[in-house]
Amino acid sequence: MPLSTQSQADEEQYVFMASLDNARNLSNILKAITFKDHAIFSATPNGLKVTVEDSKCLQANAFIQADIFQEFTIREDLVGFQVNLTVLLDCLNIFGGSTVPGVSTALRMCYKGYGYPLTLFLEEGGVVTVCKINTQEPEEPIDFEFCSSNVTNKVILQSESLKEPFSELDMTSEVLQITMSPSQPYFRLSTFGNSGNAHYDYSKDSDMVELFKCTKTQTNRYKMSLLKPSTKALALSCKVSVRTDSRGFLSLQYLVRNDDGQICFVEYYCCPDEEVE
């Protein structure tokens, strides 16, 4: 239900404005990256990118393209601000997040520019709630300099096959070790915990592996505490692409389908803990 509570004049003040008939199409994907309170919002004419970082070693990005929104207006090339993601999610779910079919919360997100709060108009069943969330100076997201040309190993898997191992990972292990190789064991996740170590091996011939392009044997370790939050993104996704570059940096890209079947992406970048050859 489109919101008609704003005047024409108001709309012209907004440097960025986006509407969604179903706020869940935004809130669900944001849940996949909510492991820290603060998020950097970057809006461009292409769409909205929300970034969350952890200790300069991990970065998660959620991409919601402009065409997912029912309305998407931006008056500058790049609009950036930082908000408390937890608060934003609470607001998006202010009507309790019911899953009754046909009932959804409509959202209009508006931003006047630097120094102004992020204003959310939420409506469900004729009731409108206005939320104003303070914004902060956006920090510059880290550029992990992960480029496709530098990718040494790439595997695309159906998320189904990774969901169980990821949820079973031995949390007493400080690291998650990922081995990718053109030869055995092809793709291996390993943990080293209190009671011993565990390995999850995926054969390149597995029907769960959609793409297998490994040029060089690489073994890298990543802090478990950094990667564990990616389990949420994995749970939402239907496919995941795992890539490592020559430095051992890890890129996890998740393909997420929202309630309306539209595709969004979530991506995680992680620095290796140490190089293990």
């Binding site: 096959s161 169980e164 191992p165 079973e168 031995d170 064991p185 209190n194 009671s195 011993g196 170590n197 565990a198 390995h199 999850y200 091996d201 995926y202 054969s203 011939d205 597995s206 029907d207 769960m208 592996v209």
Partner: protein, 392 residues
């Protein structure tokens, strides 16, 4: 050691491990020629469980050559291998268990669908053999029922209920929650169920006894039996002797041995079948210099039973020793090397059965030539705990 479990048996193995985890924190593994033994015992040694898997349970069963291999490991680690029971059935094709003696590791490899291989290398410790001494065949009362009957009975009791009392007559079995005498009578609630003999597959009462044991530890077996559909057999004798519950089929046998409360004063006299023990001196005689006995007497304020001199003797296969617990807690405490640090009022002297306590179970030990062992000839293994710290 190299064993392979395939198909539905993987889930059975996993369930057995999960039910053992309800008993104790450690899993004792002993591959023998005739079966793979998986055992567990609780910290107070009042509950013991053992699953034996015959070679036919496996599609491949090879045991280490040379001297007998025994190990123990944290049961949580093994449970982690078989975490999701629901998916085990759907995704696991076979489970391979291999021993790496050099690295002291037991490797569990799950071959799953879609080309996924899960390998768990679990470290273990060498251990003594763990074997409770019990003899089902000589029990006076023997019952067998479908698991549904016992599960439906137990569901009436709250999950927090510790102890349950089972009493039998020729045609009936009563099951009720055990209410401590010290508990507030006005706040206590008693629930009692009566089962008729025709609800059982087998109902043989030799003695009209009433036994009290810990229900919590039993629930693991009930879950296992229900999921595998195997009937549960129950064996018990007089109070003080352990109650044994078992499930068995052609390729496996599971025995849960639980200590029972000994609260029959008459029983005390007969309890010790220690033919060689000298008659006990009068109760308040602290002349034997046993500080433990003194502390116990002070603590429980129940006239301590006869004290005994000399090394505690192990029982015969059937009988159990009585032990001194704190009044409020019926768990037994066997004084052993490992459990030295336990509270004062749980000191050793096994030969003084006060009024009310759980009887401990005896555990076999692989200390064949221990000088502390009794002079009584026992066909199976000897008592583990009682002899280890001998003050007298």
């Amino acid at each position: 050691m190299d064993c392979v479990v395939t198909g539905g048996n993987v889930k059975v193995l996993a369930k057995a491990i999960h039910s053992l985890s309800r008993i104790g924190d450690e899993l004792y593994v002993e591959p023998q020629e005739d079966a793979l033994a998986l055992r567990s015992v609780n910290s107070s040694r009042s509950a013991y469980a053992c699953f034996l898997f015959a070679p036919l349970f496996f599609s491949r069963y090879t045991i280490p050559s040379g001297h007998a291999f025994r190990c123990k490991m944290a049961i949580k680690s093994v449970q982690a291998v078989f975490r999701s029971l629901a998916s085990l059935e759907k995704t696991v094709e076979k489970c391979h268990i291999e021993l790496d003696k050099q690295k002291s590791r037991l490797t569990f490899t799950l071959h799953c669908k879609h080309g996924l291989l899960k390998t768990h290398n679990l470290s273990f410790q060498d251990s003594e053999s763990l074997q409770a001494v019990f003899d089902k065949d000589s029990c006076a009362n023997v019952f067998r029922a479908q698991p549904r009957l016992l599960v439906d009975t137990v569901v009436h009791f709250p999950p927090s209920l510790e102890e349950v009392t089972v009493a039998v007559s020729d045609e009936r079995m009563w099951v009720r929650n055990h209410v401590d005498e010290e508990a507030e009578q006005s706040k206590a609630m008693l629930t009692e169920l009566c089962l008729a003999s025709d609800e059982f597959d087998h109902f043989a009462v030799g003695a009209h006894n009433s036994i009290t044991f810990c229900l919590k530890e039993l629930r693991g077996l009930l879950v296992f039996a229900e999921s595998t559909g195997l009937p549960i057999s129950m064996y018990f004798d007089e109070p003080g002797s352990p109650v044994v519950l078992s499930v068995t089929d052609s390729v496996l046998e599971g025995d849960f041995v639980l200590a029972t409360l000994s609260d029959d004063p008459n029983h005390r006299k007969n309890n010790s079948r220690r033919a060689h023990t000298p008659p006990p001196p009068p109760p308040d005689d602290f002349m034997n210099d046993d500080i433990d006995a003194y502390l116990i007497a002070m603590d429980t304020s129940i006239a301590p039973g006869p004290s005994a001199t000399g090394p505690p003797t192990p029982s015969l296969a059937r009988s159990t020793f009585s032990k001194q617990p704190a009044a409020a807690n019926h768990k037994t405490r066997i004084h052993s090397e490992e459990e030295e640090e336990e509270e004062e009022d749980e000191k050793t002297d096994l030969d003084r059965p006060p009024n009310k306590k759980f009887c401990s179970l005896f555990f076999g030990s692989v200390l064949p030539s221990s000088s502390q062992m009794s002079t009584q000839p026992v066909t199976s293994q000897e008592v583990l705990a009682s002899d280890s710290e001998d003050d007298t």
